[in-house]
């Protein structure tokens, strides 16, 4: 199967602190991988590195998207190659309306209207982005943007945290419908596991202290983490390198 994303032996520091240690990971076209791990284990850092955001120092390895090395590319160039991200904590930008971004992402006015209606964001379109948005509203706005952007690989950083149950169900459906499209791939960070009820993820990975273990069913893995914690989960499964 063609790979969408390959991370090869990636090591990353912030300051002098090593955050990611020799990470390797492959996500195939059409595949959804779920990333578990305790706070501070490096999950968000991995997503930000793939996206090309600043503040991190790569000390080794490479990132390949659709067969092309992307390490030297700027974030917007990566977006043009088909990457998209849903932020865990998006910034507030005074004077910049959600609608400005949304109408840049899609020229299809009907699609914008339908999706913002579905995600209860119609009134938010004319507001400064994230300014005064609740946690759930920010997540819905992130989802609205990434779906309209229509990337091939979605990096979702805790898409459901802070969202009420009713909206998790709506968001889950929207996301699932999107991911069912041909060859869409995703790498999803989740703590609550709720999102797993809506999407068909085949593979779960766990990151602990900047190291990655990838194993089978995310649902089983989540159950095991719930029962026995992250360390136990690591011991239970044989490390499976995806290279």
């Amino acid at each position: 199967m063609d790979s969408m994303l390959e991370v090869r032996n990636l090591s990353v520091e912030i300051g002098a602190k090593e955050i990611l240690k020799d990470i390797s990971l492959v996500i195939n076209k059409g595949e959804i991988a779920v990333l578990f791990g305790p706070n501070g284990s490096g999950k968000s850092t991995l997503l930000k590195m793939i996206m090309g955001l600043s503040g991190y120092n790569k000390t080794g390895g490479e990132i390949i998207l659709k067969g092309r090395k992307i390490d030297g590319l700027s974030t917007d160039e990566r977006v043009k190659l088909g990457l998209g991200i849903m932020y865990q904590h998006p910034p507030k930008i005074r004077g910049v309306k959600l609608n400005q971004i949304v109408s840049f992402l899609s020229k299809n006015q009907k699609e914008i209207e339908d999706l913002s209606e579905r995600l209860s964001l119609k009134e938010h379109l004319n507001r400064d982005i994230n300014l005064g948005f609740s946690g759930g509203e920010m997540k819905r706005s992130e989802l609205l943007q990434i779906i309209l952007q229509d990337p091939d690989l979605l990096l979702l950083d805790e898409p459901e945290s802070g969202v009420d149950l009713e909206n998790i169900s709506i968001m889950g459906d929207v996301l699932n419908n999107y991911l069912k499209k041909e060859n869409k791939s995703a790498l999803i960070i989740t703590h609550t596991g709720y999102i797993l009820d809506y999407i068909k993820a085949k593979r779960g990975c766990v990151m602990i202290n900047g190291k990655l273990w990838c194993v089978g069913s995310p649902k089983e893995m989540f159950e095991s983490i719930r029962k026995s914690g992250y360390e136990k989960c690591k011991e239970c499964h044989e490390p499976e390198r995806m290279e």
Partner: protein, 367 residues
């Protein structure tokens, strides 16, 4: 003046700069116009009943009652003012009149090295409501020009004046506006100031005196500062009546110039409410923004506050927009435009669109 007369009197680039200071040459969406070039009053006319427009000199000659207004606001604050002015506009809106479309005044500098000095008198009679837009601009030929603009505003009981001043100068022009507004009981004075083009130096510190109870004033400004320029721009409100309210909001972006953003709120009565806010964005290594907010009160029962924030564009905000596909330059430009949001100004819809378009054009050229 019709289009042909404009074309006869002004070069195309002059017409462009006059338009960029908010003038609607067609006058379709205006209630009156006044135009002065250097020291020559070119034309004026009122397009609506209840509005008088003429040159200040003419008003002082023809209308004896206007004489008592000349210099009145300066004596009120024991301040002196230059008397060697030539021209300037007189606008009076009759009691109870509501003017839907703005009145426009244009002060234009054309001759090289010319020192334009004007004295404007604006009287909004009891209960009247009006928008007034003043555009000040300079021809390419007006090298080393100077503009002094004295404005005395009288906003009488229950009246409303929304005054917008747009400066559209050039690199070697120095400017000194001196404005004082006297705001009577229950009246409102809204002052919007926009300066998006280069200038050598602007020094101004307009003052509103809220003399009557329940009066209110608000000063809002958007300033773009280019390398080599100094803009020392402040606003002061003296809250003299009970239950008066004031707000001063400034947004300044330095592309390399120096901005001094002053604000002074002075409570001289109880139960007043006043807020001052200055936000500055420095986009160049050589830029300077100096915010000087001041608040004074002799009373305990007042509610006064200020906030000031200066810095560069947040990297996280740029990256956020880049992760949606905008280039770094596009992201910066979007953030600056958002920062210079015209909604900061209290503008009527009609002028908002004009100023938005003007800002769009200016910022496009600067990035």
């Amino acid at each position: 003046m019709n289009q042909k007369e404009w074309n006869n009197q002004f070069e195309p680039h002059e017409i462009e700069t006059i338009s960029s200071s908010g003038m609607d040459l067609s006058e379709k969406e205006r209630s009156g116009s006044f135009l002065q070039k250097d020291n020559q009053v070119q034309f004026y006319r009122s397009l609506s009943e209840g509005i008088e427009i003429m040159s200040t000199e003419e008003a002082l000659k023809k209308l004896p009652e206007v004489r008592e207004y000349y210099g009145k606001n300066f004596s009120l604050l024991n301040r002196d003012f230059p008397k060697d002015t030539e021209g300037g506009y007189f606008v009076r809106v009759k009691k109870g009149k509501t003017v839907e479309l703005p009145i426009q005044a244009c002060l234009f500098l054309k001759a090289q090295g010319f020192k334009q000095k004007v004295h404007n008198i604006i009287i909004i009679e009891e209960g009247a409501r009006v928008y007034l837009i003043t555009g000040c601009s300079a021809s390419k030929a007006a090298n080393e020009g100077f503009h002094l603009g004295i404005s005395e505003f009288f906003i009488q009981k229950g009246a409303y004046l929304n005054f917008t001043m747009i400066h559209s100068w050039k690199e070697d022009v120095s400017v000194k506006p001196m404005g004082i507004a006297l705001v009577e009981e229950g009246a409102s004075f809204i002052s919007n100031y926009v300066c998006l083009r280069p200038v050598r130096e602007i020094v101004m510190y307009p003052t509103a005196v809220l003399s009557g109870d329940n009066a209110r004033a608000s000063f809002n400004s958007l300033i773009l500062s280019y390398p080599g320029s100094l803009q020392d721009i402040g606003s002061r409100v003296i809250l003299r009546g009970k239950n008066t309210q004031a707000e001063i909001i400034a947004r300044a972006v330095s592309l390399g110039g120096k901005v001094i953003s002053r604000g002074h709120l002075k409570a001289e009565a109880k139960d007043i409410k006043a807020h001052l806010e200055c936000r500055g964005l420095i986009l160049s290594e050589t830029g300077t923004i100096h915010a000087i907010p001041e608040m004074e009160s002799d009373f305990r029962d007042v509610d006064m506050s200020h906030e000031a924030a200066i810095g560069k564009i947040n990297r996280e905000e740029i990256e956020y927009l880049c992760s949606r596909g905008f280039t770094k330059n596009e992201a910066q430009s979007i953030i600056v435009r958002g920062f210079m949001d015209v909604n900061v100004l209290a503008l009527p819809e009609l002028l908002k669109k004009d100023i938005e378009a003007l800002e769009e054009k200016t910022l496009k050229a600067s990035f």
